[in-house]
């Protein structure tokens, strides 16, 4: 490599990554915890719990990811601006 590594983003903050990480982890672990939902009752419109619970998680997981996306987009912009501000000041 000839050119030096010019950072594309400034240093990360812990909090946004931690919060997004927890949201993402919930969206992975909850739909996979089978003992929580492997039962027939309470049924909804004739659908056993096993089925409507898993379909409900389609929405919950998407919602969690939407929040995580908003957080990450903000943090990503902040990190990018940090680098660009530096360049402008040089």
């Amino acid at each position: 490599m000839s050119a030096p590594d010019v950072p594309t983003r400034g240093p990360a903050r812990v909090a946004p990554y931690l919060i997004s990480g927890i949201l993402v982890a919930i969206a992975i672990v909850m739909p996979l915890t089978v003992p929580l939902y492997a039962r027939a009752t309470p049924a909804l419109w004739g659908l056993p719990f096993f089925y409507w619970y898993q379909l409900l998680w389609v929405f919950i997981a998407a919602g969690l990811l939407a929040v995580a996306y908003a957080i990450m987009r903000k943090e990503d912009r902040r990190r990018r601006d940090a680098v660009r501000g530096q360049e402008a000041g040089r």
Binding site: P4, T8, A38, R39, L47, L55, V58, L65, Y69
Partner: protein, 563 residues
Amino acid sequence: MSAHLLAAATATGAHRPVNWTALIIVIVLFVLVAVIGFLASRWRTDASARGLHSLDEWGLGGRGFGTWVTWFLLGGDLYTAYTFVAVPAAMWASGAVSGFFAVPYTVVLYPIVFVLMSRLWSVSHRHGYVTPADFVGGRYGSRWLSLAIAVTGIVATMPYIALQLVGIRSVLTVLGLGSGSNAFMADLPLIIAFVVLAAYTYTGGLRAPALIAIVKDVLIYIAIIVAIAYLPAHFGGWAGIFDAADKKLSATNPATGAPFGAVIPGVTGFNAYWTLALGSAMALFMYPHSITGVLATKSRNTIRRNAVYLPLYSLMLGFLALLGYVAIKAGTNPVDTNGAINAQLVVPQLFLDTFPSWFSGVALAAIAIGALVPAAIMSIAASNLFTRNIYRDFFKKDATPKHEANVSKLVSLIVKVGALVFVLGLDQSSAINFQLLGGIWILQTFPAIVAGLYTRWFNKWALLVGWAAGILYGTITAYDVVNPATHAHFGGSIAAFPGTSTTVYIGVTAFLINAVIAVLGTLLLRAFRVKDTADATRPSDFGADEDDPKVAEIERSEPLLEP
């Protein structure tokens, strides 16, 4: 997706009459899609880019797809026709464990995509990587590891393309084609469909399936929304449907002495259920066709936004799976042309039995076109792998972008002919067996690709040995699974975890073996101070966005700076 749904033959003698109304609708929509496919090469291309003379243009659609196009493209790419046919078929034949796991699978898929894929996008954008093997080759400085990733990708993709043909064939069968006495005439519609597909993929590259995906998705959403709004009420409500499913599945299978399946899995099925879902989710975005869809996007955040919107397809898949139970209640009788029961036909047959011919035509066309989109993307992805990581790396290091594009276009034709020969020459169940194996194999590329996105700690040889061990274990174990009814090998994708009687997805066990060997091997090689430091990437690459300069540009602007 789950395999071995070909239930025991019950000869009822079946010459299917041709359903002309439905057939004409299918043909009209197919012609419409073909026209779109041929026009696609002119879509969003500058005059200078006509002819698509680079892999960025031909194989990645110009690397400029925004959120909406990507949503349709990936939706059409990941939720294949075979999925639409096989998941309800599995529900119909054996219930939740082999069918409904597709729902948690496609739910946990997106958190994984959200975390991993923007990093892969960034580093690939910076370095102009077209395939996952390009990234692995650059990251580890090893064309052998890169070759292993590329070959795994190609071999796993081929049967997947073949299964798309199985999806089209199931549609043609219920339409009444394919029961002719002459074998060539019976397969002719399938051959024509594939020749047309091959032609517009050749001229339009990734733009063709991207445009067609929009048509296909509109059709499939219409078909499923109508089916879900109408069918449950028509057959007496969900409660009655689940009662009928429970009654059919809890009956004793004479071949095994155990029930056919269960509406709600018992305790012994829990680990199979979640490992199938997790392992499949980890594997899906290691497939070259998924990564092609990711790398074709415009910016770092496009794929993340899509991780929020794409689950709408998972909801649709969930309802489609439930149509398998609706078919039980409806008494659908999926008889193949040879008179045997073929579970794969259950959803097309349900539509044809219940709806007017013209609407069945729309639904069946949606399934058939839904097979063309992933087949096109898969063949593009496989030929890109061949061109970049086998042809260029091992035979012609100085290949120009135009030469690469020409090779890739040609190989995409060969790949499709290969898949066609596969389906026509071998029986359908071997295509399913190989696809089952393909899922296990592709999961073995996860450690090298995903670890590489975060760290260069792993030794390239340790990763290669881990990969080989995972493939070996997965193949042998899958071979040893015997179908209790037919006594055939490759009878399923779950087996006991070594040393226990707990049954889990074979791919997950193989992945654990692979990862443990990669870690231990790296520690061992480090203890002996084996040098392994080659790395073309730099930390800044993994966070780069569309407006950051590409590596080629940086090197042009500062060529004299030495480290």
